[in-house]
């Protein structure tokens, strides 16, 4: 699998983290729908899927903390 450069990966990760956090906190869903195709334009498809998946898993505990009732 081709690895993206460090600069591209850092920029993509920063964007993915903020956007995923915001969308998970507000809408709750549809994050991957918008984020995955956009990231796939900048990164190898495998990296885009892996990165988005891991960022979403980091977002889960944060959202459960805010919305736990």
């Amino acid at each position: 699998m081709p690895e993206p450069s460090l600069e591209v990966l850092a920029a993509a990760t920063a964007l993915a983290a903020f956007v995923a956090g915001f969308l998970r906190g507000s809408l709750g869903g549809g994050i991957g729908l918008a984020l995955t195709p956009i990231l796939t334009l900048a990164l190898p498809a495998q990296s885009a899927l892996g990165l988005t998946g891991f960022v979403l898993i980091l977002a889960d505990p944060i959202i459960l903390r805010y919305y736990w009732r």
């Binding site: 990760t13 969308l23 906190g25 549809g30 991957g32 729908l33 995955t36 899927l49 960022v55 980091l58």
Partner: protein
Amino acid sequence: MGILIGVWLISGMPDHWLRRLIGSVALALALLQLVFLTTRIRMGHHGSVSAGVGVLAGMASSIANSAGVMLGPYLAGLGLFNAAVVATGGAALVTANCLKVLSYWSIGFLTWRMIWMALLAWPLLYLGSWLGWRVNAYLPRRLFALVLIGIAIAGSLKLLLT
């Protein structure tokens, strides 16, 4: 089960085929979400529908990280209010996402470099989440959802046409 089927499908797939698959799935799900948003069509809650939604959501999750497109309307159709849909969907996806990430790791889609980068970006993730939680009650959901669908469609078409 849907996640495992999806990961099996994409493991070993060449990059250009995977891009087209992601574009196709994302486009289909974006159009599906548009249908749910603009019509009164709702998912039934018979056992077979629930099982089908589960499998399809798992596959959508592993191929395009888009389980929410299937789960959101299903949960909303149960009559839950916004915050409950977000929370319930989030709780359901926690286990699914763990399985998905382990599967991605096993097929080489996730590397240590990506993990470290994502961990370093955690403050941005927290900031985005906090901001999203704060605006949840004030957000024009329909308009915002339409914008997201538009972005998804544009990105998908770009993937399919290049």
